[in-house]
Amino acid sequence: MDGLSPIDGWALLAILAKAAGYAAALVAMGGPLFVAVFRSAPGDVLRVARQLAVGAAILGLAVLALRFGIRSARISGMGFEGAVDPMMLGLVWDSPLGTAALWRGAGELLILAVLIEGTIGLTASLLGALLVAVSYTLVGHSLGDPRWLLAVLVGVHLLAGAFWIGALAPLHRAAGLTGGTVLLHRFGIIASGTVAVLILAGLTFAWLMIGSFGGLFGTAYGWTLIAKIIVVTGLLGLAANNKLRLVPALASGDPTASTNLRRSIRMEIIAVALILLATATLTSITTPPVNL
């Protein structure tokens, strides 16, 4: 197939680590966004959002360090010896990943401030979320042409995705609380706007990478993107069902609604994991058709 790199153990490890890095970054960014938008949410729910963001930010920092080793191993062709080779690590540091790591690392550290209740802590953590989003515009295919449009699309796509993904665990908690319905209902309204932005930015970026229908169906990048879109469609179906059926059922006092909604949110989390794996594959071992 066109545009597929050789896949070895290190490439697979790179995909897994990158997907874990995406998950950590999105959940870490999503925490401050959730707290900012839903400041009046039940204390229990806000605590879940804060603690999860901090855990994710710390995991993100660890994954970032791990990814340097994996990339060194890949470019050296020397396996584990290459992963700890100072010269190879230096070359990775000099590459766009080094610049991105500075922004992402600083952002993930700032996100820790979400634990400090009040405006200062929240502002610092929101700034952190922005830095993490910017870090992803400094590396990979958003560096192609047209540079600024691609960077803006990636940044917006990530912030909108983080708002959704970071909210899943807090909403799962809210679905089990008696006073959680108001929050779930409000989330549904806001998310229908942010999800539209998320999808529009993603599709525009994809179209700029692919350039033609031939590129979609004839290349590894195109097929991986199709797989991603299929899972995204399933995720949208779950989300629509939650908003239109399960949340209203919960509000009307249906006794099974809470269990159903919580199970549906857990399925959303699984779908997100698959989407992040597909995205990591897309950005690790396939070449965008416009670059072929």
């Binding site: 050296s76 042409d145 047209p146």
Partner: protein
């Protein structure tokens, strides 16, 4: 929609050369070529590539090659093959960092005629 995106693209495209997912355009010796002698091993890229590792495998196993290009990103990479190359099949394997930061690798084969 398409026109709007194209217009945005045109407005937002910067004058500075963008970093891209560089790739190998062609090589010396050419891919799958049969040659009498090998003076030099060359890789040409469409965007600067930092070649981090390169090896030559001949009929008797891996052979020593001398890099002429250092570790800087280049669009043209050169290395000198060994003096003595017996007839047979050869493979060049290389790895590098694309200018967008992506690790890249590739290989090509050629044959030295007896």
């Amino acid at each position: 929609m398409k026109q709007i995106i194209l217009a945005l693209a045109a407005i937002l495209a910067t004058a500075a050369a963008a970093l891209a997912h560089s790739k190998a355009e062609d090589t010396t010796p050419a891919k799958e070529a049969t040659v009498e002698t090998v003076e030099v091993i060359e890789l040409r890229f469409d965007d600067p590539m930092r070649v981090t590792a390169i090896s030559l495998t001949g009929p008797d196993g891996e052979m020593e090659i001398t890099r002429e290009t250092g570790l800087d990103p280049v669009t043209e990479f050169r290395a000198m093959p060994p003096e003595d190359m017996p007839g047979g099949a050869y493979t060049v394997d290389w790895r590098g960092l694309s200018s967008d930061g992506h690790p890249m690798q590739g290989s090509f084969d050629f044959t030295v005629a007896d």
